[in-house]
Symmetry: C2
Subunit: 280 residues, 2 copies
């Protein structure tokens, strides 16, 4: 397997007639760790520092869910269907037990996978995410549009605004994060998410946020590590606290001076805490 | 220096005419780490697993504040005066820079020391504690009395009820914690806290909880690690979240299935996170 995520080829697996794109890196030992992506993301949006860090001890797999990047099909407009697709992908790879790392929308998908298929999931890392019916939701559509406009005015990337704090430290961390994303060779980049796929994901997020009681979380017996930056403006940080409180066996880590993308800003600490958590 | 806290002799230093009792353990290298004790505690109440764990890399000092255990004088009835006494103790030892680990009431004292004497404090670990004017305060007097009564009825130690969750895992962790406290040789135990001292500490805690805006926390420039169990009934866990939010540079860790004494239940994780945090 390749040594670094930036060099990992994009491959596909047939999932009930639809090709799903994925990349893998790291040692083959132990339970594989599968990464579930955020709204608007494709395979190129994963921080190589995070993926390679976890892959220093584990076999890591990242994939584009249905209708995203180079994966075929149409992106569903609800988290439950996304979770079904994720399960189908895991089964297509022949995986019987995995650890899941879900970031943002991917963290919601991971929550549902853990509830629906407890047999498949050993441990969960939920980063920058929220329980269904959480507090002070993102209102993702307008937030994305406003960030794109603000970023254009300031000569920045929307992720400077959406994923990081306005402090100089956090903005410098955003620069470093975006530079890491650019390390990947140009000729094997993923296909950007389409407006159609993003629209479906925004709808899925909105439904999740309007969702009623997240009572199902009480049935998640797996150990969970919940992580976020302390000033998340997309899914306000209090959601991570509440998510940890709702889960029977959750450890919570909140990082200083950082936003929704706190795990990218504090990638060394996140990798260290994740590896320690997954070692058990 | 002795290898383990359970064997560390109790010594005293003259603090402006008053003897303050303390114990020390660990290597002499680097900035010393000073532990600030909880309400009702004396030197014998520190978990040797925590002290020895931190002492594996650092010089650790634990002390009885004024009027507590074998320290002379009368315990003051407010956190500000306790902080002045803590500073006087540090100065009596000739310490110019320390890291502070404050647990519960000791975490409140540490917050004030950091505000009043930023020159003395390099980094802070605040465990099982709350900002002034926090949420859903302990009402410590009645809570202590009720726990003592409940414990007697159930043949348990009050700490089973106050420091741990009612779950079997957490109650077993309480047994293990109490057994570790008993490792210390009987002939060199500290003097238990007097009712007079406990009364003053309860008053100090009540004043802290009724305290108004904790605006001073915004001036704490030091990096802080805030830690608690996820079901603290003495200083409800949301206080730890709020404390981290109020501090400019705070990392938060909440541990699963544990209460006020989460750092004792999860001592290995707490030691690892504290050492990692203090290494920087």
């Amino acid at each position: 397997m390749t040594a670094s995520y930036k060099d990992a080829p994009t491959i596909t697996v047939d999932v009930n007639g639809v090709p799903f794109a994925y990349r893998q890196v790291g040692t083959g030992g132990g339970v594989p760790v599968v990464f579930l992506h955020h709204l608007t993301a494709v395979l190129d949006d994963w921080d190589p520092a995070v993926i390679d860090g976890v892959a220093s001890e584990r076999h890591v797999i990242a994939f584009d869910n249905r209708g995203v990047g180079r994966s075929g099909g149409a992106t569903p407009d609800n988290v439950e269907a996304m979770a079904e697709d994720a399960v189908a992908f895991l089964e297509a790879l022949g995986l019987r037990t995995v650890d899941l790392v879900g970031f943002s929308l991917g963290g919601m998908v991971a929550q549902v996978v853990a509830q629906k298929r407890p047999d498949l999931v050993r441990r969960l890392v939920l980063a920058g995410t929220a329980p269904a019916g959480g507090t002070g939701g993102a209102n993702a559509g307008p937030l994305l549009q406003s960030a794109v406009q603000q970023a254009a005015e300031q000569g920045k990337h929307p992720k400077h605004i959406l994923f990081f704090s306005p402090t100089p430290t956090s903005q410098a961390a955003a620069d470093a994060f975006l530079a890491r994303l650019d390390e990947r060779i140009l000729q094997d980049r993923d296909t950007p998410a389409t407006n159609e796929s993003i629209g479906a994901q925004v709808t899925a997020l909105a439904k999740w946020e309007q969702g009623t009681s997240p009572a199902g979380l009480a049935t998640v017996a797996q150990p969970v590590l919940v992580v976020n930056g302390d000033e998340d403006i997309m899914l306000p940080t209090i959601n991570s606290f509440e998510l940890a409180q709702l889960l029977p066996d959750a450890q919570l880590s909140i990082y200083p001076d950082s936003g929704h993308g706190g795990i990218f800003q504090h990638h060394a600490l996140f990798v260290q805490q994740t590896l320690e958590f997954l070692r058990h």
